[in-house]
Amino acid sequence: MEELFSVIGNAAFAASILRVTTPILLAALGAAVASQAGCLNMGLEGIMLFSALTGVFVSSLTGSAVWGSWAGLAAGVLIGGALGALLGYLVLTLKTDATLAGVALNTIGSNGTVFLLYVWTGSSGISSSHKSFVLPDLEIPLLKDIPVLGTIFSGQNVVTYLAFALVLALIFFLYKTPLGLRIRAVGLNPDAADSVGINVVRMRYLAYILSGVLAGIGGAYMSMGYVSWFARDMTSGRGFIALAASAMGRSTPVGTTVASLLFGFTMALSNSMQTLSIPYELVEAVPYACTIVALSVYAYHQVRKSKKARK
């Protein structure tokens, strides 16, 4: 137990929370935007995988250590947005059940990326035989010299800063712009929104595309920041954890961020506990088990609250 606390009390551990939270947060923001418009994006996992592979592929193709990873990120974002649009097409235009469309997209993501990886590298497991580049870490002047805070907040990957900046951007977008208001209106009451002339389907398309873009950034980070290669099924459930985080955060940017940090904490914990003498499999299950418990507690709380409100 003492060992455990010495791990958690470490500034490097706090830094690792931010690192681990980044992809979950980005995908969770994606889930939250969709949910604000009254849509379900079940396909986050598949979108992240495609973006992760695309990022590595494009950055490797450029062969440039300077801007290769940025091109990769851009390509990953583009693919993410395109897949978000595709999901929107399936759900909104073809009227496919959103859950099943998401499951299908995840299946295509999981197997399609392996297939493409094989066509590209000849390996169906990992892309490390082809050199790809990572997005840079940022040292923040002044901050980096402060003892504990510097370790935690400076020297993170550029996408980590981007993710938290996007939280602020999303707050602004959803609550301070007319477009954001329309998206929320469509989510709250599509009929009312329709009656005042808002194009419900168009708003929902936009939400799916934004959702895909955010998940795409998260996916690109996985293969070009979190690690420096693509491996099959490398997202290992982060897309689903993101859904849970968005549900727990009531799909608000702030709530979703807090919930994502919670899941990031358990995941970072499970990473650093692997150095302790606890069996690997038990540690590995921690984030998922925590998600179940957290989601149940949250649901219980919601039910209690609505009961009280009725009284």
Binding site: T96, I292, Y298
Partner: protein, 370 residues
């Protein structure tokens, strides 16, 4: 549209509807096949040979046909498991993890207990069924009591099932003399008897798979409880106001699904292996989703759907071995077909035309009589 008994007019429209469903399925599969062909032509050096292997490979040898049957068994179990929850519109996808967990339970029981032949396998299967049912019921209970998303919880449960199973095998039943991470060899009394000596298909496995389809078909379509499940899938409020057991529809359907998935894992373990050697999730739970959609969530059609899927998989496997085209492509194609099948608006115009044609013909017929 659910029965053809509501008079001639409804009956006619019903016929049109089901005829349309068949057309839609055929078109979806043809589109899938066409995409497969395009992809294979793009990546394979011997595209025609690859295609032939994939679609007609399995009839070449008796062994391949048995491979199809062997693969059908787990697909039937997870297909039925998912059909039951989807009938109630509960998106519990824990079948993936429970299948794995059921396999682990059966393996542990097969190693740890000493029982007579026959009884041993039965105990393995029963234990897996029991624990599978409990695991399946958990998301159902949380959904019913507190309205927690059964979808997200069941997905998380899959990862927990996987880790726990690997933990038990690695720390308590691992055969350290073997190179890979595998358990001890099962007691000789545990594995199921082979149907034909040379092949791995077992009598018990085949019978249980058939029984699962028959029993759950009767349960879902011929009993009050089954009706409660299906009506909850159509309209939860109706179910509630009709006084049907809503709690059963939500929790029971998920528990039953867990039982079937658990049995599936146990049967797979006792049919195909002599020791536990899985190191990653099997994917049969996700395949179950595909099977259930093909079968329209009706256990009656699950064997057909599972057979179709198994045929493609074995074909793809033959293709991989002969011509080196990766079999992941098959799963991509399946997902595309699935989307086309569940997309309400896919071919909606054709449906409209068919209904109009039918109605016009009928009206003309009525005029002539007058």
């Amino acid at each position: 549209m659910s029965t053809g008994k509501e008079g001639k007019k409804r009956g006619l429209l019903h016929d049109t509807a089901s005829r349309f469903e068949v057309i839609r399925m055929v078109v979806a599969i043809l589109i899938g096949a066409a995409i497969t062909a395009v992809v294979i032509f793009a990546v394979s050096e011997t595209p025609l040979e690859s295609l032939r292997c994939m679609f007609f490979g399995p009839i070449e040898r008796v062994r391949y046909l048995f491979n199809v049957l062997e693969l059908m068994v787990p697909l039937i179990f997870t297909g039925v498991a998912i059909s039951v929850v989807f009938s109630a519109k509960q998106f519990n996808l824990a079948a993936e993890g429970i299948f794995f967990f059921g396999g682990m339970v059966a393996a542990v029981t097969a190693i740890a207990l000493k029982l007579p032949k026959g009884l041993h396998a039965a105990v393995c299967v029963l234990l897996a069924a029991l624990l599978g049912g409990l695991l399946g019921a958990l998301p159902g209970l949380l959904k019913y009591k507190w309205n927690a998303s059964e979808l997200v919880i069941s997905l998380m449960l899959n990862y927990v099932c996987f880790s726990m199973s690997m933990y038990v095998i690695k720390n308590y039943f691992r055969d350290k003399n073997a190179g890979a991470i595998v358990s001890y060899v099962f007691e000789e009394t545990a594995p199921m008897t082979k149907l034909v000596a040379k092949y791995r298909l077992t009598t018990g496995g085949a019978l249980l798979a058939v029984a699962a389809c028959v029993l759950l078909y009767f349960f879902l379509y011929k009993t009050r409880w089954g009706f409660a499940i299906r009506s909850a899938g159509e309209n939860m409020n109706f179910t509630r106001y009709a006084g049907l057991p809503v709690a059963f529809a939500v929790i029971g359907s998920q528990a039953i699904s867990g039982v079937v998935a658990g049995i599936g894992g146990a049967v797979e373990m006792l049919s195909m292996y002599t020791r536990f050697q899985w190191t990653m999730l099997t994917g049969y739970g996700w395949d179950g989703v595909i099977v259930a959609i093909f079968a329209k969530n009706n256990p009656k059609y699950v064997p057909l759907a599972a057979g179709f899927l198994a045929w493609l998989r074995i074909g793809a496997d033959i293709m991989l071995r002969r011509t080196g085209v990766q079999m992941e492509i098959v799963k991509v194609i399946q997902a595309i077909i699935i989307v086309l099948l569940v997309a309400e608006s896919f071919l909606a115009k054709t449906r409209h035309k068919m209904v109009v044609k039918e109605a016009t013909a009928e009206a003309a017929g009525a005029k002539e009589v007058a």
